[in-house]
């Protein structure tokens, strides 16, 4: 089977075939043999051969589906690494961690968690620079300043101070 997966902004072409418990992979031409055992809900114990000699490297990974996307959030060695599946719907190809990506025309800043808006720091029409604070949301007893991922002009402010917001609610749009 042929798959196209993107990680770290780069698309990788994978040929993958299953023989018993082993998976034979070719990743951009490099071959790997992987013995995969499923652990718990989303976990894998992987024994990876090929690459640096014949060593049988033991790796623990958890592969969680991303919400509203055909991609995965892969946990390895303390990292959360987003992997997009080519042809997946609902999410653009690229870095899933950004608030919307610096390449898009509009930057929508959304609430990452439910909470209460305690301060709105910008007004429509105002110019903002990258990392400038836009809105302060209180959740879990902490005030959290949401910042602009890139510079631009504030097009809309969609919330008011004192308002409660759900996770994912749009707060400010920067163009």
């Amino acid at each position: 089977m042929r798959l196209q997966l993107a990680v770290g902004g780069r698309v990788r072409t994978i040929e993958i075939e299953r023989r018993g418990n082993d998976f034979h992979l070719s990743i951009d031409g490099q071959t790997r043999t992987v013995d995969a055992a499923s652990i718990g809900v989303a976990g894998w114990s992987l024994l990876v051969r090929g690459g640096n000699g014949s060593a049988s490297r033991s790796v623990e990974a958890a592969v969680l589906p991303q919400k509203g996307s055909s991609g995965f959030d892969v946990h390895i060695d303390g990292f959360h690494i987003p992997v997009q599946v080519k042809g997946g719907v609902g999410r653009r190809f690229g870095d899933a961690r950004s608030q919307g990506g610096s390449s898009e025309a509009l930057l929508r800043v959304t609430a990452p968690m439910p909470g209460k808006v305690v301060r709105v720091l910008v007004k429509p029409g105002e110019e903002v620079t990258a990392k400038q604070g836009l809105v302060v949301v209180e959740a879990m007893k902490m005030e959290n300043e949401l910042r602009a991922a890139r510079g631009g002009r504030v097009r809309d402010v969609l919330v008011a101070e004192g308002q409660s917001v759900e996770a994912g609610a749009a707060l400010v749009v920067v163009e």
């Binding site: 994978i14 992979l25 992987l46 592969v63 892969v74 990292f79 992997v83 599946v85 007893k141």
Partner: protein
């Protein structure tokens, strides 16, 4: 003392339940709506609901908690930390209900709860304080009046809430032009957090370390100090890594600073557990900062290097026992302990809270590892409270050994479904300055500001390749027509899940 109510939640409630169990004391938990299935409810002998999830409607409701204490017939109440732990009215209400409050007297809580009164107490005890204002500046003081006081104290300075704690209502003011904004922010935060907008000013000590001394006093006049804790690693004035002993405190300095702590405690006839916080400057001079009249979050590191169980000690003192601790051995550390506060926060995204369901959890174990947690697999981490889900503590015979074990434990720790600060700690523990013990309280904020304020530690090409492999295997094993699982163990698992859903 046969039965104790724990007026708290999360890991500290679980910690207190364990201490009670060790003493054969029955426990009564209280819980808000969202905490019905919380670990402290499950582990307690009894559990009573006290209202909606918002703290003001449950864990901060003195009337409801005292009512449960009465109805459940408890002998004492342990407040933990946070919530009502430093609320003098709560301590009084317990006494009025003829229930022992496990902590100091309401009078002491009230006195030391005022930062300015506490500074005065330290001065009376002959302990140096950070130069600053001795009187609270209330909300009616004009900006100009504050500016005048600030000029006297000198810049850089700290603006702090009089009723404050935990870094709330606190602002650094580097120069006169920052004063107005910082004053507004500190007053607003202080008002919303403590219901009191009063602030005070302190000179900012340059390159300070935060060193604190645990003390325990009994009702018979004995006050015992413990080896210091180093709590310099802070983010936005919140401690995130603590260790004991401090890598920079000599035996001589330890002697002086623990003696100063005892002097402050003695001035107020302190009973039960409390902590005196100091700032230590580059020349080895220390300044009284404040006193916390309760059990501290980071108490386990003291337990690890002294062998003393501080919570059972609190209970013993509260029931009137004489302290039998050997004052000498409590200030001599055995080995070294470190604590990392594991928060449900996303370190890659400005430490935004990350509440939600814990889909998978593997807790580290083995020699020298202790995990004080209120979390479990399947738990929904609520949005209403402090996002601390666990305190991971390691012990080693040296600081290097404790750090090595912490790295090992962090690598074993898996939390799936929510973001946590585990990768952040892995990053800090690899830092040369941290490992060398070279840091002051600005360490983390500087480190975090340094590269780009984003990912504190990034995956390399090999991690990305492994992620692609894991994703590819997951993708093809979930494709209809292909076998859904890669091993027998998965088939069992899936079967079990299907059965559970019948």
């Amino acid at each position: 003392m046969k039965k104790v109510l724990i007026a708290n939640r999360g890991e500290i409630a679980v910690r207190i339940i364990r201490a009670c169990r060790d003493m054969g004391i029955k426990t009564v938990a209280v819980y808000s709506d969202c905490d019905r299935a919380a670990l402290h409810v499950r582990l307690a002998d009894e559990a009573w609901p006290i209202g909606p999830s918002a703290p003001r409607e449950s864990y901060l409701r003195i009337d409801k908690i005292v009512d449960v204490a009465r109805r459940a017939g408890v002998d004492a109440v342990h407040p933990g930390y946070g919530f009502l732990a430093e609320n003098a009215q709560f301590a009084s209400a317990c006494v009025d209900a003829r229930v022992t409050f496990i902590g100091p007297s309401a009078k002491t809580i009230s006195l030391m709860g005022s930062k300015t009164a506490a500074r005065e107490t330290a001065l009376r005890a002959g302990v140096r304080v950070v130069p600053g204002t001795e009187q609270p500046i209330d909300e009616t003081a004009s900006e100009a009046a504050v500016r005048e006081i600030a000029d006297r104290v000198g810049y850089p300075l700290m603006l702090k809430a009089v009723a404050g704690g935990g870094g709330k209502g606190m602002r650094t003011v580097a120069s006169p032009e920052d004063l107005a904004g910082a004053l507004r922010a500190a007053r607003s935060e202080a008002l919303s957090a403590f219901g009191d907008a009063a602030v005070y000013l302190e000179r900012q000590i340059l390159a300070p370390r935060h060193i604190e001394v645990q003390v325990v006093g009994d009702e018979h006049g004995t006050i015992v100090p413990f080896v210091e804790r180093e709590c310099t690693i802070q983010r936005r004035h919140q401690k995130v890594i603590e260790e004991s002993p401090s890598p920079v405190v000599s035996a001589g300095l330890r002697d002086r600073i623990t003696s100063a702590a005892v002097a402050v405690a003695r001035t107020v006839n302190y009973t039960n557990a409390g902590t005196i916080e100091f700032l230590l400057d580059e020349r080895g001079e220390f300044y009284f900062l404040e006193m916390n009249t309760r059990l501290q979050v980071e108490h386990p590191i003291t337990e690890m290097v002294t062998g003393v169980d501080l919570v059972t000690t609190q209970i013993r003192v509260a029931r009137g026992d004489k302290l039998t601790l050997n004052a000498g051995t409590c200030v001599v550390p055995r080995g070294h302990a470190i604590e990392c506060r594991i928060y449900a926060e996303d370190p890659d995204n400005n430490f935004l809270p990350s509440p939600g369901r814990i889909e998978g959890l593997r807790v580290p174990h083995g020699p020298g590892v202790r995990d004080d947690s209120g979390a479990y697999e399947g738990e929904e981490v609520p949005i209403f409270y402090d996002p601390l889900i666990s305190k991971l503590i390691t012990w080693g015979d040296t600081r290097e050994h404790a750090i090595a074990r912490m790295r090992r434990a962090l690598a074993e720790y898996h939390v799936r479904g929510i973001k946590t600060t585990i990768p952040f700690f892995q990053w800090v523990l690899e830092d040369d300055d941290f490992v060398a013990g070279r840091f002051d309280t600005s360490f983390l904020d500087r480190k975090l500001a340094a590269p780009n304020g984003r990912a504190v530690r990034g995956p390399d090409a090999e991690h990305e390749e492994l992620a692609v492999i894991a994703a590819a295997i997951t993708e093809i094993t979930r494709t209809p027509g292909s076998a859904p699982t890669a091993s027998d163990s998965t088939r069992w698992r899936s079967t079990a899940r299907v059965e559970a859903l019948r």
